[in-house]
């Protein structure tokens, strides 16, 4: 890595680190770009060489977070457990990972909208935000397919619909948890709902 690249990475990390701290301390809205650049010892314009908007910092935070999750993921999926357990483990793993950083996650959730909109303009950025959800759904579908092959899951179930339903349950639990002010875990709530999707509610 050249001096140039090294410095660049350092600056990016520096901005990221400092803004993360400030966001946690004072909230997203109450932290100004001027403040961030001042603490980082760079000019304001430099900030925007690294991140196109203030909000994109949150996206970057999420990318980093999801990178971590996908890395842990491999080991979980490779086991020999029943499909249902794997699915539960998968979703609960995601849940737990988010539970670790509720403050920043909330900001991400409540602010990421403009990014989605903005990236909608740029074709090559369209994946961001929604793209990883599709990735999650795709993993769920693979796990469900295993379940069908193992005879754990009805053959006639439409796997796309089913995986989306599971993702819906996951996402909804996450949302409810973020809106709540209590420090309750949402893994348990999620777990109950997954059971329900497996068993069905009809008599």
């Amino acid at each position: 890595m050249s001096l140039r690249e090294k410095k660049k990475q350092e600056t990016r990390d520096r901005i990221f680190e400092i803004s993360g701290r400030l966001f946690r301390e004072k909230g997203f809205e109450n932290t100004t770009v001027d403040e961030i650049t001042q603490e980082a010892g760079i000019a304001k314009g430099t900030f925007f060489n690294y991140f196109p908007t203030k909000e994109s910092l949150l996206l970057y935070f999420r990318e980093r977070k999801e990178e971590l999750v996908f890395n842990i993921l491999g080991s979980q999926i490779a086991t020999n457990a029943p499909a249902k357990d794997k699915i539960k483990n998968f979703l609960v793993l995601l849940a737990e990972n988010y539970e670790k950083d509720k403050v920043l996650l909330r900001m991400l959730f409540f602010e990421h909208r403009r990014l989605v909109m903005a990236s909608g303009q740029h074709p090559d950025r369209k994946q961001h935000g929604h793209g990883n959800q599709l990735r999650f759904i795709s993993i769920l579908r693979d796990l469900l397919k295993e379940g069908v092959e193992n005879g754990e899951i009805k053959e006639r179930v439409d796997l796309q619909i089913a995986s989306e339903t599971l993702h819906a349950v996951y996402f909804h639990s996450l949302m409810m948890w973020m809106h709540s002010d209590t420090d309750d875990s949402f893994s348990r709530d999620l777990s109950a709902k997954i059971d329900l999707v497996f068993e069905g509610i009809g008599e």
Copy 2:
């Protein structure tokens, strides 16, 4: 209604109408408050006497929309149909109502988050945004309870969990539909997922 109140209502309606048109024409971000007030023939400050932020216009739009929906709702729920049909009708009704105004709904969806945050500061505004979701869930729970009494739904099902799961499915379908650029209806997608929740996927 006094002259004062009448004028006030007129101004509020005028702002609302004009901004709705502009948002649809040019998008939310590309419409400035200056433009709105200019077209409405009022001073900039006046705008903020009626709506605390530009984004709160979207909240107001939603309140109006949901008022409508809740009004239609009563008739649907009072019928003698099976609980499952009622639930489907309820959610599909919501879905169809939103389908009518995808453009503004998308803006609402992508912009409303900050409102939730902002209103989180003010205790008496905390309900906005999240509150109606709880209302939806509550209606679903009542319908499910009927279903249990009619023997359509397993007795041992936790109604809170079940109603939240149905709401999750509804919300998720809505989200996927909003992210998609196609003009597909999401009522059908939703319908399939409700069936799935009733039947369960486990063998």
